[in-house]
Amino acid sequence: MEHLYQARILLVDDNTDILDMLKNILTRRGFLSIQTASNCEMARALFKKHQPELIILDIMLPDGDGFSLMRDFRLVSDAPVLFLSAKDEDNDRLFGLGLGADDYLTKPFLPDELILRLSAILKRTYFSSFHTESEEHSLILGMRTVYLKRGIIATPDGELSLTAKELALLKKLNENRGNIVTFDALSDAVWGENYYGYENTLMVHIRRLRAKIEENPSSPVWLLTVRGLGYKLVKG
């Protein structure tokens, strides 16, 4: 597969209307290879024939259940599974994820959310190793480019290197770019969970990071402080 839209997707749901709708949504979003099955027997047959690269699975099926079906698939394939079910109990969700499912979405769902989750799974499973440094691990902040894999910042005046903690902070902020990242989440990323008492140290690292990525660190435009909550890396 060269592109995620080429992924072979198997949809399993007992409701044919849902199957039609899902197929319609995925087709409109550009996915090319979609198979649908309304029961376990059909699903097994299609699985054998098409070797899907992603399975969207309902739990309650007329001749079995999605959990058993997933176990069967996992015996012969590592294809990611996303459960899409009307069962919204925590127990079902935990059980499905505990079996090794990659995600669990409850009905009713927003089609956009389904597409985003599905794309994330496909990227994570099939494309993470193909990413080049320039495509996936660089971060452009105005006149500066941060190479996250190497921990280097290219500036008009030359290269600057990031410390391990600065790099961890920047990676966390970049993962949530455009969103507020709390002090706690940043501290967890750098010092691990159950931190306490690192607020001042965090501020020192943020100040040093600003000195490297901002034109004018005293008036930052990329790494902003959100009072009482945390920091935000502004989208480019």
Binding site: I18, A86, K107, P108, L110, N179, I180, T182, D184
Partner: protein, 456 residues
Amino acid sequence: MKSLSKIIARYLFTAVLILLMTLFFNIFLYPVTAFYVVQPSGNTNYNSAKGLSEELREDNGVISITEQGKKQIEEQLAFSMLLDDNGTVIWSYHLPEDITKRHYTASEIAVFSKWYLNDYPIICQVTDYGLLVTGAPKGSLFRYNIIDSVERIKRMFYMIPAMLILNLILVLLLVIVWSVRFYRSLRTIALGLESLSKEEPICLPEKGMTELLARQLNQTSKILTKQREHLAKRDDARTTWISSVSHDIRTPLSLIMGYAASLKSDSALSKEQRRTAELMEHQSLQIKHLIEDLNLTSKLEYDMQPLRRMAFQPARLLRTLVSDCYNQGLLDTHVLELCISKEIEPVYLDGDTSLLTRAFYNLIQNSVRHNPSGCQIQIDASLEKGFIRFQYADSGCGIPSNVIASLTGTLSDHEKAPHIMGLRIVSQIFKAHNWKMEFLDRNTILIHAKIISSVS
């Protein structure tokens, strides 16, 4: 069981009090009563006979009796006679027909002087004229001779208080024995009542002095068990029904949301048609949230929502929550200020973080939804004597008073309960965690949560 011990102690105390009062009555009141009531009327014949010797007269060797003496004999006594030293009757008055003898031997005199003569109680008196023998009417006086050793009589004086003390001990022992028996019988009843108050079924032994009480309690227990089962069945049916309906509605709602989303982005449709599709999607989303809320509130109401309790830092929870609200764009037109005091940072609480996040999120969402033109929201967290005090306030229109009354259970009978979901869930979640929620005014809510530990 404390109340039972109290009852038994009171029973014992009352018994001892009755005993002492009876003793007091006997010691002080009985002699008084005996002296004033029994003495005057008890031995009139005897006194009359004793005084008769004063009425005898001798005139030239002839014995006679005064008119007063005669009157006494006629009215109160049976007869009177005077014996000389030889036992010969030298004077008599009113002798009955069954006493015909005119001479008595020494042994006969010795016998009747102590007992009776022909069933007449006899009182003998030595006078200057001889032995005055007075007979009282038959059946009027009781005579009894006591002959005993002085030592024995003396011992009798010691025996009386000893017997009294022994009696007291016996009575006390009996009271204690009955108390213990009473306690044992009541203990079963008390244990039964305790179990009933804990909603546990009981089956008490129906015997002894509490048989009737035990039977009635067993019947009550059966009725309560039946009612509980009935209620549980009804609650279960209601929750299952809500759960089933919400489950069944999810698939058609998925279709509506899916197709609405497709139509919304279909360029072949007009702008108006796409706006309608967007509206459909938005309303479907509302239904989705309503179903989730309905499910959750029903489970919380009937304790069917498992709490995944864990220790957590409330400061982290609040920061993550507020950040998420900003990140999701919920607060685009609103301002949310979070003020966490420094001492809260190391503090840990116990609870289900996903439910508690949901509760605070509902509060924020409530402020946003009911103040569409924007408002200032303020969340403060501070320390207060082993508790964390959360204060949630907004500058918006405030919570209607009937909603507050409904949530605090102060809604009057004639007021109709408002349809509320979001705040009810908030209240239920805090209640499930034993957190105290109170409304300071229409815009301010106070929540108190007990601290379990803090990082040193």
